[in-house]
């Protein structure tokens, strides 16, 4: 059954200025990555979520190439015969020569075709191929680096496949486009060029090898970016061969892309090539039919977290849960890379501010970062048991009370209030209350840590003295394990938990993209990220006033740590100052940004990269217009029409807030419509009817709301001026100050 080719992509504009000559019928796209149907890290998520829109665009002509692992294939791939005869001939030819290449459908949304190569089956060729690699590129691979040797096998097999496929196509001569992700797939790209295969190549790095190593080694990374001697740094860290593979792939590719502006800067200095396109990572956004469904989900999940808090803080519940805000940080346990250090420091300052200003707001900050533990600690479990007991007691008394009330009403008497509760009931209740007394503070950590005395988070908490005492307005709960809906403590999964929180805090120092804040946004939860994270850069570019949309972007690039910390504190403090209504409005705005993070929108950057690669590799058949870096920016959300949600008192400390309009006017519908127009074309419905969508162009594209008209929320359509066409690259290459 042929895959349907949907035209949904046409609901987006910004494509039409270049795609009119893109002949997809006679082009074949291969996407090569080690994490195709093989979950190792984050690249898997990128490729898996992107599959749907790519299949929509390329249909039968889209193939993913990855390594074959039996356990993966058993659970997520359905092996089938290749429907494409040239692919079938290629596979047969390779399998006849001792390879093991499999073909199937990856059972994910979009069910794309996958070609899986068993690298172990040809491991005996390793030495020969390493010799060839040495002869052609003078890159050697140490015998002890298993991963690098796998990369060689995988690279040679993909290059073999592509070469064989090109030969098997015979006279059809389709345009072959191969998109490689990460250094593990890079050798294949280099070989395509070395062997001069008729293949247009794209290379995408999601983070640079060296950047990761340097940041992990607590180097002052961004300030020294220009001055690293990259060969020496890589060599000293024993990753020279990997770095060479990565850099060779970068050098050889027709088009080089990274996932964010910040990684682009990193790549420019560490890999010595400026990316041609920045291809941000998207998500598959699930749209609820009910408009404010996400607000209801927030309320539901929040109740579950509140229940947990009731138990955890038993005996110390001297704060109002309705005036309690939940903050959280989540991710891999990298204390300073993920910004846990600066978050803790800001919490300590926030605590001071709230106390000095006698605020009635309480903050509970969750740290969800897996560390080595010996399971839950007794005190935490006891808290939940105590809560359960109180609940049971209350229910028992309620039952008795209800029964007496019922009997009294049956005989037609109003109940005698003094007789409704007897002595026994009071004893029971007193006993239950007695059990809730405790001398110690509620525990900071929910688990018994294995490295309690050396743990970075715990030691910082000890230093700043946030021990959940009654006087503290900021309470901390460190949950050193992933969340699970089967946990006896906090039985929610990660998504539910995020929905129930008020603010995600991700002040990372090194974060090439940052899916965590993106997920928050899609769920309508405001978040704090930094201008060192890909997500933060992306949002900063696309939104005129990110704070108003619940996207707080911390400046960690051009400020000292102390200044950043002060800024973070002011973000947190301002957030605390908001009324409930303001928070609801802010969540609505945050949620509206999901369109921006949807692959349906972000997929266009990939399309653009592919087009550019085809044009570079086959200049006679394809053309593309290089865009002026200074041209208008891409899509930009203007400032919201109504007043920003934070009170005017706090404005001076947050420079990004708009200073206009002081009335409390807020029209959700009107505002949402304006926001929507910034990303979708007004003539959507017409476009989808037209089969030859590629030819429909130059019509009603959106004026890119650059800073000059950012305050003007309307989106004028501009029928005939190509220079105004918004294009993906413009916003990317745009110089940032």
């Amino acid at each position: 059954m042929p895959l349907a080719r949907s035209l949904s992509v046409t609901s987006l504009n910004g494509l039409d200025d270049w795609d009119d000559d893109l002949d997809l019928e006679n082009s074949i796209l291969f996407e090569v990555a080690w994490e195709v149907a093989n979950k190792v890290g984050g690249i898997y998520t990128v490729i898996q979520t992107k599959a749907k829109i790519t299949t929509d665009e390329w249909g039968e002509n889209y193939f993913l190439i990855g390594p074959y692992f039996e356990h993966n294939v058993r659970t997520q791939v359905e092996l089938i015969e290749p429907p494409n005869p040239a692919i079938k001939r290629t596979l047969d030819s390779m399998n006849a020569k001792g390879c093991k290449v499999y073909f199937g459908r990856w059972l994910i949304e979009g069910s794309p075709y996958v070609i899986l190569i068993d690298i172990a089956a040809t491991a005996w060729s390793l030495d020969r191929w390493k010799t060839e690699l040495w002869d052609s590129c003078t890159i050697g691979i140490p015998w002890y680096d298993r991963e690098a040797n796998d990369a060689v096998l995988f690279g040679f097999l993909t290059a073999w496949f592509l070469g064989e496929f090109a030969a098997q196509c015979g006279d059809e001569k389709p345009f072959i486009l191969a998109h490689f992700h990460e250094w593990l797939a890079g050798i294949g790209l280099c070989l395509c060029r070395v062997r001069k295969l008729p293949v247009a190549t794209i290379f995408t790095t999601h983070a640079t090898l060296l950047g990761r190593y340097l940041c992990a080694g607590s180097v002052d990374f961004y300030n020294n970016l220009q001055s690293f001697n990259v060969d020496k740094e890589a060599g000293d860290r024993q990753i020279y061969h990997r770095y060479c593979m990565e850099r060779a792939a970068v050098q050889c590719s027709h088009v080089f892309t990274t996932v964010s502006q910040i990684t682009a800067i990193e790549a420019e200095h560490l890999l010595k090539r400026k990316p041609d396109v920045v291809t941000p990572n998207g998500l598959n956004v699930k749209k609820f039919s009910a408009m404010h469904e996400f607000q209801n989900l927030h309320a539901q999940s929040k109740n579950r977290i509140q229940e947990f808090i009731r138990g955890h803080f038993y005996g110390h519940l001297d704060f109002n849960l309705d005036k309690t805000l939940f903050f959280f940080i989540a991710g891999r346990y990298e204390f300073s890379n993920k910004g846990a250090d600066i978050f803790l420091e800001a919490l300590a300052r926030l605590n001071y501010l709230l106390r000095v200003n006698q605020s009635d707001i309480t903050i509970v900050a969750f740290f969800i970062m897996p560390a080595r533990t010996n399971n839950f600690n007794v005190e935490t479990l006891k808290g939940q048991a105590v809560r359960k007991q109180l609940w049971d007691t209350a229910n028992a008394v309620k039952e008795k009370f209800g029964k007496k009330l019922y009997e009294s009403l049956l005989v037609g008497n109003l109940p005698d209030m003094n007789k409704m509760l007897d002595k026994e009931d009071f004893t029971m209740m007193k006993r239950a209350i007695f059990a809730t007394q405790r001398q110690s503070f509620p525990p900071v950590c929910t688990h018994n840590m294995l490295d309690d005395s050396t743990d970075a988070i715990l030691n910082t908490i000890r230093r700043i003295g946030l021990f959940n005492s009654s006087a503290d307005r900021v309470k901390i709960i460190f949950h050193p394990e992933f969340l699970s809906s089967t946990s006896p403590l906090l039985p929610v999964d990660y998504e539910e938990f995020v929905r129930g929180c008020h603010l995600g805090v991700f002040p990372s120092y090194y974060e090439p993209w940052g899916y965590t804040p993106a997920e928050c946004t899609v769920m309508g939860i405001p978040s704090i990220s930094t201008n060192l994270s890909g997500f933060g850069c992306f949002m900063e570019e696309h939104i005129a006033d990110p704070c108003a949309y619940g996207i707080y972007i911390l400046d960690r690039r051009f400020r000292s740590v102390d200044d950043s910390c002060t800024q973070l504190t002011s973000f947190l403090y301002n957030f605390c100052q908001q009324t409930r209504r303001q928070r609801i409005i802010q969540r609505n705005r945050t949620e509206r940004l999901s369109d921006l993070l949807d692959w349906k929108y972000l997929g266009r950057y990939y399309m653009y990269a592919r087009h550019m690669a085809l044009a570079k590799a086959f200049p006679d058949n394809f053309t593309y217009e290089p865009h002026e870096p200074t041209a208008a920016a891409g899509f930009r959300y203007p400032r919201p029409a109504s007043v920003p949600p934070s009170p005017s008192l706090s404005r001076h400390s947050s420079p990004h807030h708009s200073e206009t309009e002081d009335d409390e006017r807020y029209d959700e519908e009107e505002e949402a419509e304006k926001d929507r127009q910034n990303i979708k074309q007004p003539t959507v419905s017409n476009m989808t009817q037209v089969p030859e969508w590629r030819k429909r162009s130059k019509k009603g594209s959106v004026d890119a709301g650059n800073s000059s008209n950012a305050s003007n929320a309307s989106t004028p359509t501009n029928p005939s001026s190509p220079s105004d066409l918004s294009s993906p690259t413009n916003s990317l290459i745009e110089e940032r100050n």
Partner: protein, 376 residues
């Protein structure tokens, strides 16, 4: 068998009757013996010799093969009392014949030559990749064949350190066994374990404590034991493919640089000690004799090392020795080191060893040029 067997107490020297050919009067009956088959193992032997000198006053003998360069021999001569060239192919005896039949046993047969040192009453053989940490003269109280168990198969002894009694008769029996049955592991350890096959069961006194031959792999394979008993170690044996001289040493921090995945670097103390001895005591000797050339004068391309356990090997190597960037190279074949035009083959091999000259010939700029040719 030679006549007297040493049964005396610790430190007492039993002098054998002077034999013809020995010129020194203070000819001792006991000696430590080692073997090196090329210049890189010679570096190991030099460090071993130096560590023995520090902890013992016994005579030191080194057996070398013709592959060891002349200049290196001179340096060995400074550390060892007796440097003997063993050329199995040249020998008139049955060893030659044995080699003809079993060419793979080349190094093994050279090692067996230690039994021909009959001017000594008793000897302790130590591999060139061992290093002495404390006085071990009490080994001479042991009888032939005393050795420590092998960490991989403790019913076999490890032939990196063993006590033996030179004897032409034993030597010939060993050769005969080698010719007839060969060695089950292709090396001397298999052969010796076959010959002294009662070692595991007969006499516990022939079992040397493990601390007399502490294999470096045991440090990580049984870490708790190492933590408990490692401090008593007397001899450390750098088993494994990567030898101490294959590592890169940073003389400023006094640490060995290495791959993070390398388990042997969990406890790098011994490696660091090896390098400390090497840089403090051996390097000056090597420089004096022109084995190591200070190449700050220009040639710096020689770096890394082609490590080979095979019979012959040409190799070069770079170390960061002084605070200044001074590169040294050791050339094996010719006494005056030839200009460092290393073959492509050698460069590749060094990559595979993780010894990349990333600041020189292998810099990315050179790779870039190579790749640019394809991108035209």
């Amino acid at each position: 068998m030679t006549g007297s067997i040493c049964t005396a107490g610790a430190g007492e020297e039993v002098t054998a009757a002077p034999e013809p050919g020995t010129d020194t009067a203070e000819m001792a009956g006991e000696a430590f013996v080692t073997l090196c088959t090329n210049d890189s193992y010679a570096k190991g032997a030099l460090v071993l010799g130096s560590s023995l000198r520090k902890h013992s006053s016994k005579r030191l003998v080194v057996l070398i093969t013709p592959q060891v360069s002349d200049s290196m021999r001179k340096v060995l001569d400074k550390v060892y009392d007796d440097v003997r060239v063993v050329d199995v192919l040249d020998s008139e005896d049955s060893a030659h014949l044995a080699l003809m039949e079993r060419p793979e046993l080349g190094v093994t047969l050279t090692k067996l030559h230690c039994w021909t040192l009959i001017e000594y009453t008793k000897c302790v053989f130590m591999d060139a990749d061992t290093m002495v940490l404390q006085n071990i003269d009490d080994l001479f109280e042991r009888e032939e064949l005393s050795a420590a168990p092998d960490p991989g198969w403790p019913d076999c002894f490890n032939s990196g350190v063993f006590v033996f009694q030179p004897s032409i008769k034993t030597y010939n029996q060993l050769l005969q066994l080698a010719t007839e049955k060969g060695s089950f592991d292709g090396g001397d350890q298999g052969l010796l374990n076959t010959f002294f096959n009662t070692w595991a069961t007969k006499d516990i006194h022939k079992h040397l404590p493990f601390i007399y031959n502490l294999s470096s792999i045991s440090i990580y394979s049984y870490l708790p034991a190492f933590k408990a008993f490692g401090a008593n170690a007397k001899v450390v044996h750098f088993l494994g493919k990567v030898k101490p001289w294959n590592y890169t040493y940073d003389s400023t921090t006094k640490t060995v640089k290495g791959d993070a995945h390398d388990q042997t670097l969990i406890h790098p103390e011994f490696l660091n000690l090896w390098w400390e001895i090497y840089t403090s005591r051996i390097l000056t000797l090597l420089t004096e004799h022109g084995v190591v050339k200070d190449t700050s004068t220009g040639l710096k391309a020689l770096s890394g090392l082609v490590c080979s356990l095979a019979f012959s090997c040409r190799f070069c190597r770079e170390e960061e020795v002084t605070e200044a960037v001074s590169h040294m190279c050791i050339a094996a074949a010719a006494p005056p080191p030839s200009p460092p035009s290393i073959s492509s083959e050698e460069r590749r091999e060094r990559w595979e060893q993780g010894q990349v000259d990333y600041m020189g010939a292998d810099s990315y700029d050179n790779i870039k040029k190579k790749l640019d040719a394809y991108l035209q």
